[in-house]
């Protein structure tokens, strides 16, 4: 874009041609006030707050709708303009209830701020204000009409941004109102974007209203714990009897990859943390009954039992099930704990995508994974399988907005008529289960197209599509778990024929990608290094059993046959997820770490109450491979994070935790003097830390110590620590990953969550449950008619 030069308030500034004046001013620190203008939404020019003087124009002009032009001379601050702003505020306040002290937006209200900045403190009006009662539009959306200043942001974000179109404008003149799509309520995705974008307190959230004042909260920016997209969410926390209570989720500083976006889960479904069924202390099975115990008792028991089994039967008698919602540090630690402390490769987790196959296919291909940011800027997108609107709300938002704002073509191929077809340049429906043939066809097998042909799509159409795709530059190819194993490799092969193509593989949970990267597999170590063979991990970890362990079905079989003597389940509910007979493990010693007495925890011998992702620190890797910080926001006293629990179990087993967590000085090798194979070498970890200006960690419970190790050892994770800590997402790469292993694609099962469900967490979220109930109630009303 060529630059144009203009003068604003006597200052010469430049801006790319096509820039809106209001943005150009903002870019040089000149604030032009506005209510209705909102970046990336259609222009309104409605609130008239942004009026400025442009030379040669008789009237004041709206900076929000004026495009900069060469030689333009602009004044943004004169008596006339000040008066214009002030009078707009006077008019707005004329009908605005001054109930700021009890308004949720009080203290965070753009109208308050504007009034503070531009005056209009005294009212010229003495007529009664137009009053209307507040309305509840859904379990999470409340509307207080008199507070509404009609900036139409909510209408636009719901329609243009979300493609939901649940809000409209009705009546006209001073009777104009924002109206919901169903007479007195909304039928929508309940994302709360309308609430978030509302500059005043007209739209308020059922989850937060009247709970607290904004200034009484502490705000912690962290990563959402629900789906695999990894939105940044800011949690508002305040003191509670039991620690720190989360009272609000939003995206106030819009700094994450998700910008403005959050879905219902990211915004409201933090409330599982305060569910009344939350486990508050360890439980030990005594006389067949789970009975409250102290941490010391519980950890000692687990340590003793695990130690005994290891000594007697060897580590292979123990199975470890990890989680897709624990942090990378915890997943890595668990993987290492299993191998190094227990001496077992019986490690698995709920697999929702074929990341090992993906990693293997992308080995040696730098820059071939797409970040979440890429999805918004990609010049073209190919989407195969999945229903991002339901399963990956942020990804869907990025796709929609890329199409809307940049005009990127979207090619979607799916066995279901997914909603994103509305944004698609081309949507092709295939029969369920033919995704593999699709990948083959893409990779060049023309015969495979026969399975794809349907009354609506001829073979020629398929050939034309493939040709068309090959002409796209920097195509981003996104695929769901419908593609696994060889099909992933085929698709990547196709991608090689498209210049600059990048890929994203869609997995379901907040840290599914991380769990895979951190090696929660029986046959893979972190970074997809095969268990058989040699890698950094074999060398550094010292003790890694050499043959592949049991996967989950294997553990079940071993449980049945009695060869599995203990099962250690961290933050996972396989009994319910995989529909396993709970008595399978009745002869094994089962330890479960979780928030709730899940189906799996119910059959445990020891239940350890764990903190959730909103109550601890670490990192998550989203489905695109973007690494982000998880920060501790809430706190429930008496609970421990999975990280600490794992370390303490190792300790209770009498294991030297220095060998598990690199904390303290000389963590690895006393500078190399004493340890056999390592002797004579410097402590690599210390050297690595030194080179990056980092300090050794002093606590064995500090996940940062493991992050150091992850960054040092896991391929693709050596991203900028500075940027990571600053809250930016850092894209990891699979180019240097290990060679992968036999990936057993049949073990992958989708979580099948939709917008309103989130596995076990969802069941314990009142917010989600109330929305599900209200939607069901509405549908049964219809059905009963």
């Amino acid at each position: 874009m060529p630059e144009v030069t203009l003068t604003v308030d006597g200052k010469k500034i430049t801006a790319p041609a096509g820039t809106l004046l209001i943005e150009a001013c903002k870019s040089v620190g000149i604030e032009v006030p506005s209510f209705c203008y909102y970046p990336n939404l259609s222009l309104q020019g409605a609130c008239r707050m942004c009026l400025v003087k442009i030379e040669k124009m008789p009237k004041l002009q709206t900076a929000c709708t004026t495009v900069v032009s060469e030689g333009m001379v602009v004044t943004t601050d004169s008596d006339e303009i000040k008066q214009a702003r002030k009078s707009m505020l006077e008019l707005l306040l004329g009908n605005h209830p001054l109930d700021c002290p009890v308004c949720d937006a009080g203290g965070e209200c753009e109208l308050q701020d504007m009034t503070f900045s531009y005056g209009a403190a005294e009212s010229k009006f003495m007529e009664a204000k137009n009053h209307r009662d507040e309305q509840q539009w859904s379990p999470v959306v409340f509307f207080d009409r008199p507070r509404c200043i009609l900036c139409y942001r909510c209408v636009r974000v719901c329609g243009e941004g979300m493609d939901v179109w649940a809000l409209g404008v009705q009546n006209r003149g001073v009777s104009s109102i924002i109206a919901p799509n169903k007479e007195d309520h909304v039928e929508c995705e309940e994302c709360g974007m309308c609430i978030d974008i509302c500059p005043v307190g007209a739209l308020t959230s059922g989850a937060y209203r009247y709970k607290t004042r904004p200034w009484e909260m502490k705000h912690v920016g962290t990563t959402c714990t629900h789906c695999g997209d990894g939105c940044k969410t800011t949690l508002g926390v305040r003191r509670a009897d039991t620690g720190m209570e989360i009272v609000r989720g939003d995206n106030r500083d819009k700094s994450g990859t998700n910008g403005d976006f959050l879905c219902i889960k990211g915004r409201y479904a933090f409330d599982f943390a305060h569910h009344e069924d939350r486990l508050m202390q360890p439980l030990i099975r005594k006389n067949g009954k789970l009975t409250p115990a102290t941490w010391a008792e519980a950890l000692a028991l687990v340590g003793k039992k695990f130690g005994e089994i290891c000594d007697r039967e060897g580590g292979q008698a123990i199975g470890v099930v990890g989680s897709t919602r624990i942090t990378n540090e915890e997943a890595y630690l668990l993987s290492k704990f299993a191998r190094v402390v227990l001496g077992t490769n019986n490690v698995d987790h709920h697999r929702t995508a074929d990341f090992p196959a993906f990693a293997a296919a992308l080995r040696g291909k730098p820059g071939a994974t797409a970040s979440m940011a890429d999805v918004f800027t990609a010049p073209a997108i190919l989407l195969i399988g999945n229903d991002p609107t339901e399963q990956h709300p942020l990804l869907a938002w990025q796709i929609r907005n890329n199409v809307r704002l940049h005009g990127a073509p979207l090619y979607a191929i799916n066995s279901r008529p997914i909603k994103l077809r509305r944004q698609a340049t081309q949507f092709l429906q295939i029969s369920p289960g033919t995704e593999t043939q699709l990948a083959d066809f893409m990779a060049g097998s023309n015969d495979a197209a026969d399975a794809l042909v349907s009354p609506s799509t001829s073979k020629d159409a398929w050939l034309a599509l493939r040709d068309k795709l090959k002409t796209e530059q920097n195509l981003v190819i996104i695929f769901g778990s419908e593609l696994r194993g060889a099909a992933v490799a085929e698709l990547v092969k196709f991608g090689a024929s498209v210049s600059g193509a990048k890929f994203t593989c869609l997995g379901d949970y907040a840290n599914s990608h991380g769990a895979a990267d951190m090696g929660l597999y029986p046959d893979l170590l972190p970074g997809y290094h095969p268990i058989t063979g040699s890698s950094e991990f074999h060398r550094e970890w010292g003790r890694v059993p050499q043959s592949a362990g049991l996967d989950l079905p294997g553990m079940i079989r071993a449980g049945k046959s009695g060869t599995l003597k203990a099962l250690y389940v961290v933050g996972s509910n396989p009994i319910s997820r995989l529909n396993i007979d709970p008595f399978v493990f009745s002869n094994a010693f089962v330890v479960v770490q979780d928030m709730f007495l899940t189906e799996t925890a119910t059959m445990a011998d020891v239940v350890l109450p764990a903190a959730n992702a909103y109550e601890k620190s670490g990192t998550f890797t989203n489905t695109c491979g973007d690494l982000q910080l998880v920060k501790k926001a809430g706190e429930v006293t008496g609970l421990k994070g999975d990280f600490e629990i794992i370390v303490r179990i190792a300790d209770a087993m009498g294991f030297d935790v220095h060998k598990l967590v690199p904390f303290g000085r000389g963590t690895q090798a006393d500078m190399g003097q004493t340890r056999g194979a390592q002797s004579g070498e410097a402590d690599r970890h210390a050297v690595w830390l030194e080179a990056r200006g980092l300090e050794p960690k002093m606590s064995p419970f500090d996940p940062m110590a493991i992050l150091d190790e992850i960054q040092r050892l896991v391929p693709g994770y050596d991203v900028s620590r500075m940027n990571l800590l600053a809250g930016n997402s850092q894209h990891t790469s699979l180019a240097q990953a290990g060679a992968g292993a036999a990936h057993k694609p049949e073990l992958i099962s989708s979580a099948n969550d939709n917008l309103f469900t989130s596995g076990t967490l969802g069941r314990y979220s009142h917010a989600l449950q109330s929305v599900i109930e209200s939607h069901e109630a509405k549908h049964s009303e219809v059905a009963a008619d």
Binding site: W165, A166, G168, V169, Q170, N171, R172, A179, P180, N181
Partner: protein, 160 residues
Amino acid sequence: MKFSDTFEVRFAEMVTHYPTKRSALVPTLLYAQDEVGCLSDEVIAELAQRLELTELEVRNVISYYSMLTTKPRGKYNVQVCTNISCLVRGGEEILHHCQKKLGIGHKGTTPDGIFSLEEVECIGGCSWAPAAQVNYDYHENLTAEKMDKVLEEYRRKEMQ
């Protein structure tokens, strides 16, 4: 939902006049209202479906236009203009007269459902003020007596 044949013929032709379907919306709504009496939920659902709009969009449009209504009105909608040209020639008196005569106020409907009354903005009868419309018929240069006759006429029509 069934409309008259005349409506269907008109609708079928009208949608061919525009490059987008929804363009036919405003005139179509008025014709539908004339036929059904008001824009009922049923009418809204039907037209939304025909013009590929959401019901919300149709409602947004309806509520903008003052001639469109979702609530039934009397068979004869008496619309008295009181805007400036009529005002200075006694438009308000005509309105008050109708109010008294019909026993209803602005936007009211007589119990027998025959008349509704509405104070309206300028209807383009300025040079022949005061003016009123009963449904689409103009009545101009009105006096209270003339207005009585007009109302009588409609009532008689209804009785037949």
